[in-house]
Structures are given as structure tokens and as C-alpha cells.
Amino acid sequence: AQTVTQSQPEMSVQEAETVTLSCTYDTSENNYYLFWYKQPPSRQMILVIRQEAYKQQNATENRFSVNFQKAAKSFSLKISDSQLGDTAMYFCAFMKHGRDDKIIFGKGTRLHILP
């Protein structure tokens, strides 16, 4: 069974700083997808970034980038020039490629951006 672990329950950083959220996962699959979701106080789940395991290049989306290390099964999220609006819960998630389309989520990291 796949598992996703986020070891940082809560983090705080000053506005404009860079912050990295950790995520590790365990799987025996070779083809899969990894995601970072943001959940602001409004509770809506918003996709931040996704990575396909067969791609070696790290995904980037504006101020958000990942450090994907397949061998180490690590998928960290870096937020550059953090903004107050980045305050939210962040979930790391895993989905294996194939008939089973279930997404497995980590427990989340609560991120506070301080003014």
C-alpha cells in the first residue's frame, strides 16, 4: 500500500521569505503522479503543482517549485517570495498510474505567512 508522510505539522515564515515543505512517500510502483494541494481557510482544495514520476525535470509553477527525488521517494515543495495569501494547509498527494485512480493524501502541513 502506498503511504504519504508530511513530517511538518505546522510552519511559520515571514512574508517574502522562501519556505520548503517536506513530503516523502512509499510505493513499489514505477509510474505514478505526485501533487501538492493547497487548502485555504475557505476549505476549497486547490491544485498547486503536479509531477509525473517518469519526468526527471522538476515541475515549476510561478513561485512554486518541487524537488522531486525519485530514488529517495521525496517530493518537497518550495515557495519563493512567500505572500500572505499563501497561508493555508498544504497536502502532498500520490496517485499511481493505472486503473486504480485513488489519490492518497498526507496529513498536511499548516503554513502561516507572517506580515
Binding site: M45, L47, E52, K102, I103
Partner: protein
């Protein structure tokens, strides 16, 4: 497009009562999902559907039933609610498998079982 909508937004039930949560999507997505979110537990998949008329169990299916009679709707039922089912429930839908499409989430339904 309204995207993914959920009804109701909030509900209080007494132990043993039944209720149905409705999820609707107007994006013609094949795949739909029901999750529950508990403090310290993250999101856990309850049931999902890969198309109209089909359903499958997720990680935590016990105590829930689902139906997908119409492509745009995915219903989650609680036949006899228990306090352990107090949670926030999220519905999601997606167009196709894997990383080619994302899952679009609804706003959530907060359920309190007394």
C-alpha cells in the same frame, strides 16, 4: 460553469439518523470521488466512481454507501450515522486518469453527528 458543488454545506444529525450528501459536477467528468477530512488525518478516500453506474470502495468505505445513477451526480449516503462520522466531506471529479487532469474539488460539507 459551477464546477463541483455539494449539498448541503452543513448538517447536524443525531446518532442513528440517515442522510444523503449530493455532489454535482457540470464538467462532464467521468471520475468522481468522496473524501472525508478529519483533524490530523488528512484526506481519506471513502468511495469513488470511474463512470456512470459504477462505484468502488476507497480506504474507509464502512458505514457509507454511494450511487452514481447519473454521470453528473455522485451521492454519498449514511444509513445510520455515528459520532465517528463527524467530519468534513469533500467531493471531487476528474476528466481522466492520472496526471493529465487534476481532480476538481467541491467546497465541502461539514457534518456533525451528536
Amino acid at each position: 460553469n459551477a464546477g463541483v458543488t455539494q449539498t448541503p454545506k452543513f448538517r447536524v444529525l443525531k446518532t442513528g439518523q440517515s442522510m444523503t450528501l449530493l455532489c454535482a459536477q457540470d464538467m462532464n467528468h467521468e471520475y468522481m470521488y468522496w473524501y472525508r477530512q478529519d483533524p490530523g488525518m488528512g484526506l481519506r478516500l471513502i468511495h469513488y466512481s470511474v463512470g456512470e453506474g459504477t462505484t468502488a470502495k476507497g480506504e474507509v468505505p464502512d458505514g457509507y454507501n454511494v450511487s452514481r445513477l447519473k454521470k453528473q451526480n455522485f451521492l454519498l449516503g449514511l444509513e445510520s450515522a455515528a459520532p465517528s462520522q463527524t467530519s468534513v466531506y469533500f467531493c471531487a471529479s476528474s476528466h481522466q486518469r492520472g496526471g493529465l487532469e487534476t481532480q476538481y474539488f467541491g467546497p465541502g460539507t461539514r457534518l456533525l453527528v451528536l
